[in-house]
Symmetry: C2
Subunit: 459 residues, 2 copies
């Protein structure tokens, strides 16, 4: 045992991570077990992240049941999924039974149907019922991610009775910090924070201290709706009711953080013309990535061939002024950048609900004014660069500079309008990503360019 | 009063929003006061958001002091700032005094120095000391956003004593759900959830039930560090300690959600080559927006003139095969899109800490394999399109298709490498945004294109 204690002391000198890796190499199971069960959860999470699947499973076997479950709960769903596949069925069932209903549903969603069936069969009848109920709601709805593990009080209780009830019945509830008050048929009457309950007089009636008419979402609402409500009001959990206003579950703040993370990652993917996949980058195979990216590259490549046609139709004119060719890439880049700035800004503002559809015209008007100022600044600098520094003929420099003003104007106008129009027809604004806007802006920039060249240069 | 009650009944028929707007028009102050003080906080937030500044101030005057403060706390900092400017000094001081220290600092950060001085002078000496202390930490550090309003227990207390102490002293603390145990000189010994405290035996000693060695951040740590820790461990608050491990404050989950929102919005801005401004879109003036966007448009426009020089240097070659011009926009778009996909994916994965700097080579290798498959798919489709559908000469179609493969390869390689190299030299990976990557990828795509054309077409 001396050997073990020495190794534990080393933990403080080196890190948990390093000593686990060392003892995995040495296959010193006794030392590993000591180190793991003395380590903090944070150290365990940081350690397990970089290990091979096989070693992860070994570590789970060595942890006490409680520690193993708690660690598992804090892993990403993708990491959980990988682990479950490596566990024996028995170990997998033990873990899945131990999870909270909402976490369980999130994990089962990612597992193959045959595995889900086996896991469901192994649950107790009441756990199975709860799980099946949650899995019955559509994905990304409040119903799908809620947990039925909330604390319910009745408004006729006194504060002392309520505290007593919490101590007796609430040990396994997801949270006890927000308490929900319902009538006999579970209709939501009010909410109460544990804080207010503790500071109230023991003889007060719950109905006198509860907050009536609480903010809530419905089972069919988008999960983002619940996230927004919780953020707006600074809550720790949001109640979820069915069509008859019966309380069926709650969504807690940790789930809201996950929703925000997930939805943001999706927005990032869409902005870059990638089909969103709810998996961390490391867990995606090469083919997963190719499948998410190549269709969009293809669609955009084919759309870009419009530029091909435009250039070909102006070939006669371009042969007279071949110098016009050289400015095309700069004009296209600027169109894309100006459009991307507007579309990214508007998509983000819409997802934060800072701007709404009814603001459409005022926003486009704002972007138009911004675009004119930006365009004029670019045009002046560009004219100086072309005419004064590079010695381009003044006519061509003027054509390119005027094109810049119009291009920035067009790019910013469509960059701001398209995401809002997408929402108008019930599409996600983020599909009008900077990438899509860039491709459209490029086509329009070329058309503007050649028309201005024709008019001003008389070709 | 009948009139008023009728109007209140209408509130249920119409919405709070509509009836407030109506009564603002009628200037019916009595009715307004009734409606406002009976409305839920959510309704008030939704109503006030769209009103003119003048009407917002009127509504604050009509609300009870408690309701006004609670509503103010839930506004965005930018909205708070606008309101404070419209209040009388007296009203502003009342509100600012009522805020939690961390919320107060966040608001004061946005106000002009002269106003801050006036507000600080009006605070009680102890509130002023706390506020000055927090304002002494650098922006975006854990110290700057923490609140000193936490509940502190000693490990020698019993559970019953601790509950008693909470009831007596914790009424105004930011949270009572996580309790911090320190020694006499405030060194952090452990944490305990109110939940565990409630379910413990009243005679248990705190030191026997607390969690020792808790996760914590230091005052100088980046606020994102605190956010990540809270998310990883599913906490409701994170303790902040100074260099001597003395507990100086906590960061709560609602602040973490704000940090996540703010940092994400910054990443979005950087991805689109916009200087991040911590203000909602609606609160930014035209000139604010121009200032945030035009420098980047200028820098990128000037960088794009490299393409100009490349095209000019190949002009002789292009005169022989003018058809080569027509594919330039499509090649540039594809280069930009392929690069944006990789850089956006990597920037997001890095900000979620899914990938780290030490994974640099394995990630580039992954992106290279993805790029080859994507490039070959695009090349095949492109060859079919050019040669079979458009009747381009097979030599030119081959040149463009081979360029596509190499372009996607180059774009994805630099798109994944640049954000990681930015982090390597301590820059934010997001500065290697899709926009910057696009501009670089465009230049490289053209160089690749003309070299392949020269070799294959013998020009």
């Amino acid at each position: 045992m001396d050997n073990v204690n020495e190794k534990i002391d080393e933990v403080n000198a080196v890190t948990v991570n390093e000593s686990v890796v060392l003892n995995l190499k040495l296959r010193d199971i006794v030392a590993l077990k000591q180190i793991l069960n003395n380590a903090s959860e944070l150290d365990l999470l940081n350690t397990i992240h970089d290990l091979s699947n096989e070693n992860q499973v070994l570590i789970y076997r060595l942890l006490s049941k409680d520690k193993a479950l708690s660690l598992f709960e804090h892993l990403d769903t993708a990491d959980q999924e990988k682990l479950i596949h490596s566990f024996t069925d028995e170990a997998a069932i033990e873990i899945i039974t131990g999870l909270e209903p909402d976490d369980r549903v999130r994990l089962l969603d990612e597992l193959p149907a045959a595995v889900v069936k086996r896991m469901l069969a192994a649950l107790s009848p009441s756990e199975r019922e709860v799980t099946n109920l949650l899995m019955g709601y559509e994905e990304k709805t409040a119903g799908r991610i809620m947990t039925p593990e909330y604390v319910r009080l009745l408004k006729i209780m006194t504060v002392a009775e309520a505290i007593d009830r919490i101590k007796k019945t609430a040990k396994d509830k997801e949270t006890i910090y927000t308490l929900y008050i319902t009538d006999d048929s579970r209709r939501l009457d009010g909410v109460l924070s544990l804080r207010d309950l503790l500071f109230a007089d023991p003889n007060d009636k719950i109905e006198d201290i509860m907050v009536t008419n609480p903010a809530k979402v419905s089972t069919d609402d988008d999960q983002e709706e619940a996230a927004r409500l919780l953020q707006k009001l600074g809550l720790l959990s949001v109640p979820v009711v069915d069509k008859e206003n019966r309380l069926v579950g709650i969504i807690t703040v940790d789930d809201v953080i996950d929703i925000i993370k997930e939805e943001t990652t999706e927005d990032f993917a869409k902005m870059a013309a990638i089909t969103p996949v709810n998996k961390p980058y490391n867990s995606m195979s090469i083919m997963d990535i190719v499948k998410a990216r190549s269709p969009w590259l293809l669609i955009l490549m084919i759309s870009a061939t419009f530029t091909h046609m435009i250039i070909e139709s102006f070939e006669g004119a371009l042969e007279i002024y071949p110098v016009l060719y050289a400015a095309i890439p700069m004009l296209m880049d600027t169109a894309g950048n100006a459009g991307a700035q507007s579309s990214t800004t508007i998509v983000r503002a819409m997802s934060l609900h800072e701007v709404r559809l009814r603001n459409l015209f005022s926003i486009i008007w704002k972007e138009i004014r911004v675009s004119v100022i930006c365009g004029v600044i670019l045009a002046i600098v560009n004219f100086g660069r072309m005419y004064l520094l590079s010695g381009t003929s003044p006519e061509v420099a003027v054509v390119v500079s005027i094109t810049l003003v119009l291009t920035v104007f067009v790019a910013k106008t469509i960059g701001s309008a398209l995401p809002m129009l997408a929402e108008r027809v019930k599409l996600d604004p983020a599909v009008m990503s900077s990438t899509v806007v860039t491709t459209i802006a490029d086509v329009l920039a070329l058309i503007v360019y050649f028309h201005i060249a024709r008019v001003l240069l008389g070709i």
